[in-house]
């Protein structure tokens, strides 16, 4: 009995250390994001005592972070739209059909991940300048779609594979066409998983900084804006900006937590 108790105490202790390790930086940046600058620079206060939202206000409305956030959100939305329009049919094909060259296609999709974004960003800038879409939302969204698309295909194919084909076939026996069977039966059943992978695509686009920084000058996304200005700004703006960048991630973890392990499991295979 004593040994059991010792073991559970030890487990509790390790769990406590692990939680502290992963949570402390997030708690700290939250405190610093809301601390008044006087409290932040006061060496006697470890934990700030006065809080304000004025850093957020200034960042958003006078320092351009509001605009950058809007750009980031639009780019992410466009990326989700494009990668789903392209990737969902491909994922469906992978999960529902047996066809010649299927493995070769799957391998092609997988192998695209070998190419780092660094090598794509440079020629894309020149291509976009020629197309007249450099420094626009569309340019970044197109580049982000290239990054997100392979993940969307692999994730959706395994989500569709998880929806029993028997439902679809039953619907077709009752006279629905294949496309109707897909939209009325399979799609609704796959919806939660698809929503989770949309959030996944959102996070990938929201976080991406290298390509976004190279492709834009005026229309910077939030991470690109932070990368180019943060280290020359007062510290409290750095932390407010870092906090704003982190919020969607935290929301994401909360809502998608049920799918988290399996989604990452699929995408990382």
């Amino acid at each position: 009995m004593g040994k059991e108790k010792l073991k559970s105490l030890l487990t509790l202790f390790v769990a406590g250390i692990v939680s502290l390790w992963f949570l402390t930086p997030i708690v700290f940046i939250t405190l610093s994001a809301f601390a008044t600058s006087e409290d932040y620079y006061n060496p006697h206060y470890i934990i700030p005592r006065h809080y304000t939202i004025s850093h957020f206000y200034k960042l958003f409305f006078t320092l351009g972070a509001g605009n950058a956030t809007l750009i980031s959100l639009s780019v992410a939305a466009l990326t989700i739209l494009l990668s789903f329009l392209l990737g969902v049919p491909a994922g469906y094909a992978l999960s529902r059909y047996k066809f010649k060259g299927k493995n070769a296609l799957k391998l092609t999709i997988l192998s695209t991940r070998m190419f780092p974004l660094m090598i794509l960003a440079i020629p894309l800038l020149i291509i976009f300048m020629q197309l007249g879409i450099s420094d626009t939302l569309w340019g970044i969204a197109l580049a982000h779609t290239t990054m997100v698309l392979p993940f969307v295909i692999l994730i959706t194919s395994s989500i569709f594979a998880g929806v029993d084909i028997a439902f679809e076939e039953a619907a077709m026996i009752f006279g629905l066409s294949r496309s109707k069977a897909f939209f009325k039966i399979t799609l609704p059943l796959a919806l939660p998983g698809l929503a989770a992978s949309a959030i996944f695509a959102f996070i990938m686009s929201w976080n991406e900084v290298f390509v976004a920084s190279i492709l834009t000058l005026q229309n910077r996304t939030l991470p690109a804006q932070i990368l180019s200005t943060a280290m020359d700004s007062p510290d409290y703006y750095k932390f407010t900006a870092g906090f704003i960048m982190a919020v969607p991630a935290l929301v994401f973890i909360f809502f998608a937590r049920r799918y988290l392990i399996s989604l990452w499991g699929i995408s990382l295979k």
């Binding site: 949570l23 610093s32 049919p89 698309l149 295909i153 990368l227 935290l250 988290l260």
Partner: protein, 283 residues
């Protein structure tokens, strides 16, 4: 699974293939041409490659990138394995811990770097705590050109914090796939805990360990945001130099050479990994 002869799957795949041809294959080909043509056009030349090879910053960037990877990856794999083994004992409330551990997975490198700066900056938490406890009189400077080695270790710590969860998720999924029957059989034969780990867990975890290693190695050679924000060019790295050549110097063709080096390393790593995996399977 439908296997009737039909063009439907090809039609469903066609948009993706066209897209990848236009926005992946074409830019890659263009990048290759940029590597072997001079800035502003002209006939094929190896001048860009020579220029990069003769630049000591390139070698320093390569060295730093490799060094960071060599320090970060073993730490991450070790910590992730410990965490996965710990969580996999499935104590009460273990899923809460899994969620906590996975939070940094969705955080950007930019966020992580700023969180790290918040802790290690001259007015940061470490300095504040040490000052208030009376351990130091003046703040310790972790950042700056003359304290490069401490910058290096802050970067290592940040990357370990940020990306260990990625390895953790892969390893945990691998652990959960190991059938309990193996351990029950081992109990019958009186295996110790350690023996079970060495003879059952590790071999069965090998595929997960390998894919975690491949993925982390690929990402490690693309490390950018954390280093750029925390150290700037104090510690040159390959992706950082690509960025610098492109945006500051506007030497697009030189930047393409740097990008290509990263791509070649990635392909090489994938290739080594794939042949290694193949030979392991044949044994």
């Amino acid at each position: 699974m439908r296997s009737e002869r039909s063009i439907a799957p090809y039609l469903l795949f066609l948009p993706t293939l066209i897209y990848l041809a236009v926005f992946l294959a074409y830019p890659l080909a263009k990048a290759l041409i940029m590597v072997i043509t001079p800035e502003g056009g002209g006939s094929y030349t190896l001048a860009n490659i020579y220029a990069v090879m003769n630049d000591s910053t390139f070698w320093e960037a390569l060295k730093n990138t490799v060094l960071l990877a060599a320090v970060i990856i073993p730490l991450q794999v070790f910590l992730a394995l410990m965490l996965a083994l710990f969580v996999n004992t499935k104590f009460k409330g273990y899923m809460t811990i899994v969620y906590l551990i996975t939070i940094p997975l969705a955080l950007s490198d930019v966020s992580a770097a700023l969180m790290s700066y918040n802790i290690f900056s001259p007015e940061g938490y470490i300095n504040k705590i040490l000052l208030n406890l009376g351990f130091i009189k003046n703040p310790i400077y972790f950042f700056g050109f003359n304290v490069k080695s401490s910058e290096f270790w802050v970067i290592v710590l940040t990357e370990v914090w940020r990306a260990t969860p990625l390895v953790f998720v892969i390893l945990l999924a691998g652990l959960q796939m190991i059938s309990k029957e193996y351990f029950e059989a081992a109990d019958v034969f009186g295996f110790s805990r350690f023996q079970k780990f060495i003879y059952i867990t590790l071999p069965l975890l090998k595929p997960s360990l390998q894919s975690a290693l491949l993925l982390r190695t690929l990402f490690a050679f693309q490390i950018f945001g954390v280093v750029w924000l925390l150290a700037g060019r104090d510690i040159p790295i390959l992706a950082g130099e690509t960025f610098y050549q492109q945006t500051e110097l506007q030497q697009y063709h030189i930047a393409a050479v740097y990008g290509f080096v990263i791509a070649l390393i990635s392909i090489l790593i994938s290739w080594i990994y794939l042949t290694f995996l193949k030979s392991a399977k044949e044994v």
